[in-house]
């Protein structure tokens, strides 16, 4: 018998429509990514909110990998802690996978794994995948790939996924390649038909069409950021491959090649260079920024550590560039394919001496796009390296989003003096605070004016950019840099604040924690706990932070690190409130989920 009901007397229970999670356990390098995308897209195209997360090893082929799809009618897209439907395709992990399920969960597995013997309190659908795959193709290699589409067919039948949407998703996935489309569609059909004829529905999960994804897009944060860089007018891109940031520059390169070739000359309006290491990548970005390009690089924690010296140089000599940090688990090599927010403090204060940097903290794919564009504006406006800090969860996973908006602000290159400006002004001091905002004027190499040149040095320098070791010169420089940082507070993205009247509890979070916090707040509300929420979008802190903290009795700082880095930065900023803060810290490498936040706050409130 292929279908096994529960041992318990309990019947199937209430139908659960459009609210569950599916996890597919496979082996990396087995080609399951396409099938999982098709599954996710088909549901998305039915108008039902979805999110997808790829949990993969730091390995190319042969190790376990899991893809989770969350289907949620309310639009919650954070990770869901418990798996409702497990597709256990990987014999290496199948026993662990099925053991991890809650009683009553669903498990779809190859019949020969005999998983029903492992858990009798799980609803099993056992499928002869090998036999079905032999019908899908004569080619052994293809059979392995098509097995993945067969489970799509089985799931489609069980959940009632609209076949038309699967057809569309497959056509999109295989980009019009007729042969591949036919093979894959056929495999889905084989799975679907076999399920229809042989499986008796014993679970409660299904999908029904909705209208909640109309006009929405699906994209990962790295591609979104890459897109933002292109529309920011980036001209020099330097990078060194590192997980999980590589796909940011790779997406950007694809976009640039397609959309940034000058039509008149058929030549590129950009240059991309794969550097020999991150030391060089950031050096190139700074050299390009100094010479006037909109430059950027992208990396992750280990690269940030390597860039440290140069970033201090950029801060001190006032050179614009944009550095993306797609954070992964550290310290050291850490867990390269797992997510974290633990670079926050070290990046904010990166490099020796008194340094602090503007850091933008996108909390969605849309903000990855928008803040990428904004980062270039801020970097050139303030003549300083600007960090955009995302993480693996945001960067490499697929997220549903509103379509991105075209930038409304023209490109602003900051205080750059041309030869004509110099002629008019009659003088030029590179590091003088002319406007009282701490931001000096600069010229670009190649400026054809006797006053145009200056000397950039990481050693002590005067307002005229000459060498100095004089105490008063150094104080002038450092105090002006501090003033510039103050000015930046008025220009960085302000936090998003939702103050609930009467709420005594405040929550502060940033980045990818946002999805879990939003869902958690609804859960807390159901339990009678009203919360206000401040989602931080940049460092330095802005005035909204103090107002928010003052307005609440207790403030939970939710972050994905061990050492409560954001809480400590807030404490430094607001020492008088330092006893108000409680931490919710999620740092096991998995994306944070709503239940975790809710449980921590309930515990914190003694409820």
């Amino acid at each position: 018998m292929n279908t096994l009901a529960l041992d318990s007397k309990e019947k199937t229970g209430k139908n659960v429509v459009n609210d569950f999670s599916i996890q597919v356990a496979t082996v990396n390098g087995s080609g399951s990514q396409s099938s999982n995308n098709v599954l996710m897209r088909s549901i998305f195209q039915m108008g039902i909110p979805v999110s997808g997360k790829n949990l993969f090893p730091s390995n190319i082929a042969g190790l376990p990998t899991w893809f989770t799809i969350r289907v949620n009618k309310n639009g919650y897209i954070a990770r869901k802690k418990h798996i409702d439907i497990m597709i256990a395709m990987n014999p290496q992990t199948a026993i662990e996978d099925v053991k991890g399920l809650n009683p009553g969960a669903v498990c779809i597995s190859p019949i020969e794994l005999k998983l029903d013997a492992v858990r009798s309190d799980v609803r099993h659908y056992q499928v002869p995948f090998a036999e079905l795959a032999s019908k899908a193709s004569d080619n052994m290699k293809l059979r392995k790939l098509l097995t993945n589409m067969i489970y799509v067919g089985v799931v489609a039948d069980l959940l009632n996924i609209d076949q038309t949407q699967i057809d569309i998703a497959i056509t999109k996935q295989f980009d019009g390649k007729a042969k591949a489309i036919d093979l894959n569609l056929n495999a889905v059909k084989i799975g679907r038909e076999w399920a229809r004829e042989n499986l008796k529905k014993v679970d409660q999960y299904s999908v029904e069409p909705m209208d909640k994804t109309q006009g929405k897009i699906i994209i990962d944060g790295n591609a979104a950021a890459g897109l933002g860089c292109m529309f920011a007018g980036v001209t020099v891109v330097t990078w060194y491959p590192i997980t999980p940031s590589s796909s940011l520059c790779e997406s950007l390169i694809d976009y640039l090649k397609e959309h940034r070739i000058d039509k008149a000359s058929n030549k590129a309006t950009f240059a991309v260079i794969q550097a020999e290491d991150e030391l060089a990548a950031v050096g190139m970005a700074l050299g390009a920024g100094w010479a006037g390009a909109r430059s950027m690089t992208s990396t992750s924690g280990p690269g940030i550590s390597l860039m440290s010296e140069f970033v201090g140089f950029g801060y001190f000599t006032e050179i614009p560039t944009v550095i993306f940090d797609v954070q992964r688990v550290g310290p050291s090599t850490g867990m390269p394919t797992r997510t974290s927010q633990a670079d926050l403090m070290s990046t904010f204060l990166l490099s020796h001496g008194d340094t602090k940097h503007i850091c933008l903290l996108p909390g969605s794919v849309q903000e990855c796009y928008e803040m990428a564009t904004e980062a270039f504006q801020i970097a050139e406006m303030f003549q300083t390296p600007v960090f955009v800090m995302t993480d693996l969860d945001l960067g490499m996973n697929n997220w549903m989003s509103e379509p991105f908006k075209y930038p409304t602000t023209p490109i602003n290159r900051g205080k750059v003096l041309t030869a004509a400006d110099l002629e008019k002004a009659g003088k030029f001091e590179r590091y003088a605070d002319v406007d009282g905002d701490g931001i000096p004027y600069r010229t670009l190499p190649g400026t054809d004016h006797p006053l145009g040149a200056y000397f950039t040095r990481g050693s002590g320098h005067t307002a005229k950019a000459t060498y100095t070791e004089k105490p008063e010169d150094y104080l002038y420089l450092m105090d002006r840099l501090a003033k510039k940082f103050e000015t930046a507070k008025k220009h960085v993205p302000a936090p998003v604040v939702d103050t609930v009247s009467g709420a005594k509890i405040g929550i502060i979070a940033f980045g990818s924690s946002d999805f879990a916090v939003q869902e958690s707040r609804d859960q807390l509300k159901e339990k009678g706990l009203a919360t206000s929420y401040l989602r931080l979008r940049a460092l330095p802190f802005t005035a909204e932070l103090k107002q928010f903290v003052d307005a609440h009795d207790v403030v939970y700082v939710v972050e994905q690190c061990r050492d409560a880095q954001l809480r400590d930065l807030i404490r430094l900023e607001l020492p008088e409130s330092s006893m108000k803060f409680k931490s919710v810290l999620h740092y096991n490498g998995l994306p944070i989920d709503a239940d975790f936040v809710t449980e921590a706050i309930i515990k914190g409130e003694g409820k």
Binding site: K216, I217, I218, I219, L227, M230, F231, G233, T235, V236, Y255, H259, D262, K267, A268, T269, F270, A271, I273, A275, E276, L279, A280, A281, V282, G283, M284, A285, L286, G287, A288, W290, A291, G292, A293, R294, S295, E309, F310, F313, P403, Y406, P410, I411, L444, P445, G446, T447, D448, H449, P450, G452, A453, Y454, F455, T456, R457, G458, S459, T466
Partner: protein
């Protein structure tokens, strides 16, 4: 009334090519090199505002402040000038880049970046002011110190030197010269020729450190270098704008035409050295080490190599100053990308 100072072909005087007064030790080899840079750029009539002066950290890296005041300068971090120069070259391909580094800056901390700069063939002059020691930190050996060379304290170097010229040739560099701060004529000709080269031009210039490495037992002292210097050829440079034809006895001169029409004339000595033979150049360098010779001149030239910036195939304008109309695609582009993602 004093006569107006002479001017070059673009109407500038020698002092337009000068920099701030040097703060290096009296007699430092680096100052002699600085003078030849000033002279070479003046005589070539290169527009100083179109030059960018790059350096790392160390005594040598201070020198860009001492020449071409009208050019932007960039004193970067230790050993990392190549990456900054690479970025600047991509941002504005019309700049003439000249980098000045030292043996510590290039052969130790910056060896990796030096190799990759050469490998990419970034168009720039890259001068190594090579004295075999760390001057700013008071005289420790660098990686170019010869085996058996002694510090003032009597400490002997036991490790083999890294030969930056040999390394550059190995990495495919199309212009590699070695000279001596005490040989102004040859040095100036090499700098001028390097300025016409389209790609990385590496000049390893022995530049004695008068304070820490100019004593008996040093192989980078003035005395040693003067006694040992053996030019491979007599080197002449004829810029594209002043073609002079001189008749030479056949076979006595090797003439190399550069991409801009300038010519290098290498008058042969008894060695009969061929500067276009890469394998021969490497052999000559190896042999010179074994026989403790100090050979100077143009070790290797190849004018037929693509430089990295040209390979990027960017628009004619400098990327740095492209208008928004060329760097921000239209709304229609974003809309079509969004449609694909729906």
């Amino acid at each position: 009334m004093t006569a107006a100072p002479p001017t070059n072909r673009i109407g500038l005087t020698l002092s337009d090519y000068k920099g701030a007064p040097s703060t290096l030790c009296d007699g430092c080899g680096h100052d002699a090199i600085t003078s030849q840079i000033i002279r070479a750029f003046y005589e070539l009539g290169i527009e100083p505002h179109n030059v960018a002066k790059m350096s790392g950290i160390g005594c040598s890296s201070k020198t860009p402040a001492y020449f071409l005041n009208r050019a932007h300068g960039f004193n970067s971090v230790h050993g990392r000038m190549p990456s900054v120069a690479t970025g600047a070259a991509l941002a504005n391909k019309h700049l003439h880049l000249i980098g000045v580094s030292g043996d510590g800056d290039t052969a130790s901390i910056g060896l990796g970046q030096f190799c990759h700069l050469v490998r990419r063939n970034i168009p720039m002059i890259y001068i190594v002011e090579n004295n075999g020691v760390y001057g700013l930190t008071k005289g420790q050996f660098s990686a170019t110190a010869d085996i058996g060379s002694k510090l003032k304290t009597g400490v002997m170097n036991e490790l083999p030197p890294i030969d930056l010229c040999g390394l550059a040739i190995e990495l495919g560099c199309g212009f590699v010269g070695r000279s001596f701060a005490g040989d102004p004529r040859q040095l100036q000709a090499l700098i001028k020729a390097a300025a016409s080269h389209k790609g990385t031009a590496v000049l390893d210039v022995i530049s004695p450190c008068v304070t820490f490495n100019n004593h008996e037992g040093s192989t980078k002292s003035y005395k040693y270098a003067k006694e040992m210097e053996t030019p491979l050829h007599e080197l002449g440079f004829i810029p594209f704008y002043e073609q002079i034809n001189v008749d030479y006895e056949p076979g006595t001169v090797q003439e190399v035409e550069m991409h801009d029409g300038s010519k290098i004339r290498l008058k042969k000595t008894e060695r009969d050295y061929d500067a276009t033979d890469m394998v021969g150049a490497i052999q000559t360098i190896k042999k010179a080490h074994d026989e403790k010779q100090f050979l100077t001149g143009l070790l290797y030239i190849n004018e037929n190599k693509d430089d990295f910036v040209s390979m990027m195939d960017t628009v004619d304008e400098s990327l740095a100053t492209l208008p928004e109309s060329m760097t921000r695609p239209g709304k229609d582009v974003l809309e079509s990308i969004m449609k694909e993602l729906m």
